[in-house]
Symmetry: C2
């Protein structure tokens, strides 16, 4: 893709048909409430993935498996592709404008990250010979979160012609990701008038309603055109057509102001009216004024979360792209929402919540958006505690043990591969760790008493039941798990999982003691509700933490990923034939599993989380051992390596890993950006700069820094929120 | 189910609606070429599973998985449910006969195993008050393997009435087991006349054609009735209707003679004619003569494979049921066919070939049907060697390594769970073992030179690549496998798999040396075709067999199922809450995996195969340890325990396990007989008698016996074929 580096913009300067879907992901826009892939407004008959998503509007798609196993969830809840509200057909002298059939002479697209605006300009020759230029500008508003707006300007370059615009919304959309090729939306109502159109749809099963109301308007050379629009209606499709007899160089601009309201925020009977109001007010304000609002809102966001890197435009663009995507995916305004791995940029992973949020995203939102936003993310899990207890019960656990889901929309487990769904239980640890991390950063220990302790107790009880005693070893063991390194399944004694489990048990005990001392009344309530038996449960927990088995290699001085890891043939990544990579596209699954290659090094993840518990030499030995065996085929992998490499002073490796994480999508390392962006791993990129190069840590309630910049960086500066203050870092 | 024991018959004496599907499985009939569940001929509006199967007529059903993994096969080849040729609607004074709506006064069904004939007799009161009795007799011919025939006699018991018969064939059938609810058959042609009907269908994708041609005939009180049949045709449905004004006690008998011909054996253009000839010749011979043929053919079969047990009718019925099912599933007449786990009795497992054939069925067919039949089963795999090499290549193996499929119809892998498809590789060992077993029994070493050696070389090469060297252990290891005990997945060093792999390497080497010495020209050809490097490959094989790691527990003196088995909580089956069983219906998959409970004890399977390599005390210790932990939720499990228990003299356990295996379906231990019978495990039941109680072994080319009968058995006698002689055993 002909992408250019630029400190504030993502720029594409050539039209490449085979890269349309990838660009649609990269140029996506959103406002934390909804998002839109960078599909073209006009007809495009080539390969495209239309995508328009509204946070929290999901569908429980019936599970599809080859061989059912007890415990599988009945469905996978996925955020739905929804109405294509940007639609705008353009005909010139009866010929349809379509970049797949026209001759594209010039093409320029930019995503202005500073202002949250997508602009596309192109010049084409139509099959019949007419030439025209187009400028399309659009955004979803950060100020009016129910609003999307676009302007679309056509200019004839070599003659006069009749230009016909048909702005429309097409609501009868299907998910590309649908297990049984079913439709997920039912039609409710629609209207089309000369000046506006409206369509309301309702999701099947979940019954969410959404209304899209568009006011459209035509200006010619900046003046409102008094030309009549003719309404058009089809099946869940509303729009209107207007014809202009235009002269060469006339600027014909079509505006769309679309209010998008959902039953998450309105009563179903008021949806259409509310959407109409959003559109009407927007139209009244006018496109320029809305743009100004938008620019200002984004500038305010950047004011306290920008990261400036001097002397390295690639690195600068990379980090801003990550921050921009995180900001437009989640704003913390709605505790029902969370951060899907692909945000609003694609359907894969269903827009659902993964452990990514706790392990990677929370530190970012803590530092840039503030305590309240991070707290909403914690409360999301608190609210789902009853479901986590149910999930554990389905797997045979009892007495209030809680297993948080691997993938969820509403707290219920959605994933359906046994080795992940039932065994990738380390996620429970990350959810406890996020509470610790939040309190360490904010000092807000009262969160424990309010919500956190109940979550911790549920999680620790799960561990206490899941860990078993081995007579043979005279140790506690944890059998049959999958660690964050998903290139191993059903292993015994995954070091990371054992470690974080024991940490949970200790931290829960400490937290209980703190709440007991500081909020005795609330503590008594929590114990009573949880039927907690201090004496027996604490005794058991202590026994586990004292007698847990941790696989190690004493000779090498490293922790072992799991029992038997060294039985594998030890080959290093550098000795792998590049033609064999990425392994997950080249090797069969069994071969990956029995190889020593690691998708994401979970021992290092543990060392990263609990850094203070290891001396630098230990970190260095483990880093060296695992980095050589890690293929980084998880987007969540390189950031941790960047941070640890900086920690041990291996700045070349740190920089290599930083570029890999921050430009993963821009440079499409894994050849899959067409499916959407890796939103959650972008938080890891931010961590690589802040915790890696700037060396930021919280110690004893204070921020500390230990900057180690890549040699060619001239400067690094950023701001973080910390305990009510904005701290400016410069180096 | 009101089942009665009887030495030669399966008898049901009551009509129970909730047991209709189970009975349909138990009373199935077949002739090795095709089979038919015991569906009612007349309309049945209650719960039923129509099933009519033709060996070798399969469809590649597109794979359905939740999460695709590299290496998964594109489809699952399944034997298809095919036309319902037994159809016969009966109306009495306009009322349809339907056991779901009529009042059933008497009901009797028997499967005569001695003669291969299914008979059903019942008396009903129709809703309108008329009473009638019916006798339905049917069989699929062992003599004319393209023929199915039935007679259906109605008698009015309390008055005169108009009886209307509509014999028909309905060919527009769907599989119950279809991944995407698609149809698998296309219509080709049909005709219906007064005396016959014919319909031809073709399978989608695979293009197999089948024609069903029925001649129908009515007799009244034994005399041909000169009443006109009116042809009827619907969509892929052909039949004819005849009306009889019948008097009380008149015997109205409708005969159907159905020729079923397929493109496996005929040119497509000759199918219909051939089917017509089969039906015509059968009609000419008449039902009684056909029955006589059938009885004689079955008696001849029994003459050299019956097992008589004196003093225990339950045990007698059980073993004859097993033998009967095996005989009607596979006759060895067609090397393209094999033994599906459910034979022709249900759709589950797709009618495909599993390792069951080699591990369990071959000894049965060797002893009862003779060398040639067993040889056909070996050749089935020989013919599929190129596909086995392809299967291995898909998983990254090279140089002619062969991995036989877990499930197949034509040599290609069909199964799609990674832990089984890619990792349950012990199947390769069983296929090699079958060659050894065949030669041990028959003395036919020339089979090695003709076919066997090529298969052995491919298999051994697979092991040599699959086994890796562990620097850590200074031993060879085999990582990431699933043993026959499928309640463990992705384990390291499964003792059974390691053992049989090393045995394969040794046996292949020995076999190569024998062929080299005895057929040097052929040997040179095999080496050349396989590009076999004697020096290097043999050296590597020897090194592996000398330095392989076998997990053991020295203290207990037992072999360990896999590395780390003793890390599990050791609970015994006797201490399991019965309400938790069967585990596979009560526990989530992860819980089963990390428990110590065993579906099928693979260490014992290995000891059974290679008995001579272990002393009795070792067998006893291992048996005792594993039997206590085995839940026998595989149908293939109890027979091996029965044999080993007899070996070590634990006759109570041997008898318990024998009843469990031989009456698994009759007594419906696993509550699933409605889905079909466990055909392949029936061979295990036979082994339990012959190798267990009679203690039959082949040693140094001679049969030996070591009888140990259950105390209350008065006698045991059977015949086996051995090297051209019929050996009669009596004890």
């Amino acid at each position: 893709m002909s992408m250019q580096t630029h400190p504030w913009k993502i720029i594409e300067t050539r039209f490449e048909k085979q890269r349309v879907k990838a660009a649609e992901s990269l140029f996506s826009i959103g406002n934390g409430i909804m998002g839109q892939r960078a599909n073209f407004e006009e007809v495009y008959s080539g390969d495209t993935l239309h995508g328009s998503y509204i946070g929290g509007i999901y569908y429980p798609d019936k599970t599809r498996v080859g061989w059912w196993k007890n415990g599988y969830p009945e469905y996978f809840a996925k955020v739905l592709n929804s109405a294509f509200w940007i639609g705008l057909d353009v005909k010139v002298n009866g010929e349809t404008l379509d970049l797949n059939t026209a001759t594209v002479k010039e093409f320029y697209r930019e995503l202005n990250m500073q202002h949250g605006v997508l602009t596309r300009r192109f010049t084409v020759a139509m099959p019949g010979g007419l030439q025209l230029s187009v400028e399309a500008v659009r955004f979803v508003s950060m100020v009016r979160t129910d609003l999307g707006a676009l302007s679309y300007t056509v200019q004839l370059l070599n003659g006069d012609a009749v230009v016909e615009f048909t702005p429309y919304t097409h609501a009868d959309v299907k998910n590309e990701d649908a297990n049984y090729d079913e439709k997920f939306w039912d039609f409710v109502a629609q209207t089309a008038t000369a000046g506006s159109s409206s369509v309301t749809m309702r999701t099947r099963k979940t019954g969410f309603s959404v209304c899209w109301h568009t006011n459209h308007e035509l200006k010619i050379n900046g003046q409102s055109a008094a030309l009549p629009f003719t309404p058009v209606e089809k099946q869940a499709w509303v729009g209107a057509t207007v014809k202009v007899t235009a002269k060469k160089n006339d600027r014909l601009t079509l505006f769309k102001y679309t209010g998008i309201t959902s039953s998450l925020n309105y009563l179903p009977e008021n949806l259409a009216e509310a959407a109409g109001e959003v559109a009407g007010e927007a139209q009244q304000a006018g496109f320029s004024a809305l743009m100004e609002e938008q620019c200002k809102a984004w500038e305010e966001k950047w004011a306290h979360c920008d990261v400036e890197i001097g002397g390295d435009e690639e690195a600068q663009q990379g980090i801003r792209f990550c921050i921009f995507q995180l900001l437009q995916t989640y704003t913390g305004k709605d505790a029902r929402l969370n951060v899907g791995p692909k945000g609003f940029t694609g359907e894969k992973y269903g827009g659902s919540t993964y452990w990514d949020t706790e392990a990677y995203c929370i530190p970012f939102y803590l530092a840039t958006a503030g305590d309240k936003v991070a707290r909403e993310l914690l409360r999301y899990r608190y609210n789902q505690l009853p479901k986590a207890i149910e999930n554990a019960q389905k797997l045979g656990f009892t007495d209030g043990a809680a297993l948080y889901p691997m993938v969820t929309m509403n707290g219920e487990e959605c994933h359906n591969e046994w080795e992940i769904t039932f065994e990738e239980i380390h996620r429970n640890g990350a959810i406890a760790y996020a509470i610790f991390n939040y309190i360490r950063y904010t000092g807000d220990r009262n969160y424990l008493s309010e919500c956190g302790l109940e979550v911790l107790i549920g999680i620790s009880r799960f561990w206490a039941q899941r860990i078993t005693w081995s007579e043979e070893r005279n140790k506690y063991v944890m059998l049959g798990v999958t660690g964050p390194n998903e290139y191993e399944n059903n292993v015994n004694n995954n070091w990371y999982t054992n470690y974080i489990a024991c940490w949970c048990l200790r931290y829960t005990r400490e937290s209980m003691e703190w709440v007991k001392a500081n909020h005795p009344g609330r503590y008594a309530d929590i114990l009573r509700i949880a039927h907690f038996d201090e004496l027996n449960e604490w005794t058991q927990w202590t026994d586990i933490t004292e007698k847990m088995h941790f696989p190690e290699d004493e000779q090498r001085g490293i922790y072992l990923q799991q029992d038997g890891y060294l039985d594998k043939e030890q080959i290093l990544v550098k000795d792998l034939d590049p033609a064999q990579r990425p392994l997950n596209q080249k090797w069969s699954w069994d071969r990956i599993l029995r190889s020593c290659f690691i998708k994401q090094a979970d021992v290092l993840q543990g060392i990263y989380f609990f850094e203070d518990e290891f001396d630098v030499e230990t970190i260095r030995r483990n880093f060296h051992f695992y980095e050589q065996r890690t293929v980084h085929e998880s987007s969540l992998s390189p950031c941790v390596h960047a941070i640890l490499a900086a920690k041990i002073g291996d700045m070349d490796k740190a920089y290599e890993m930083y570029l890999r994480t921050s430009r993963l999508d821009l440079d499409d390392y894994n050849k899959e950006v067409n499916e959407g962006l890796h939103i959650t791993s972008m938080a890891g990129s931010w961590l690589a700069v802040i915790q890696g190069f700037a060396g930021m840590r919280v110690k004893d309630g204070k921020l500390s820094f230990d900057p180690k910049l890549p040699e060619h960086w001239k400067s690094l500066s950023f701001k973080v929120n910390f305990r009510g203050e904005v701290v400016q870092f410069k180096a």
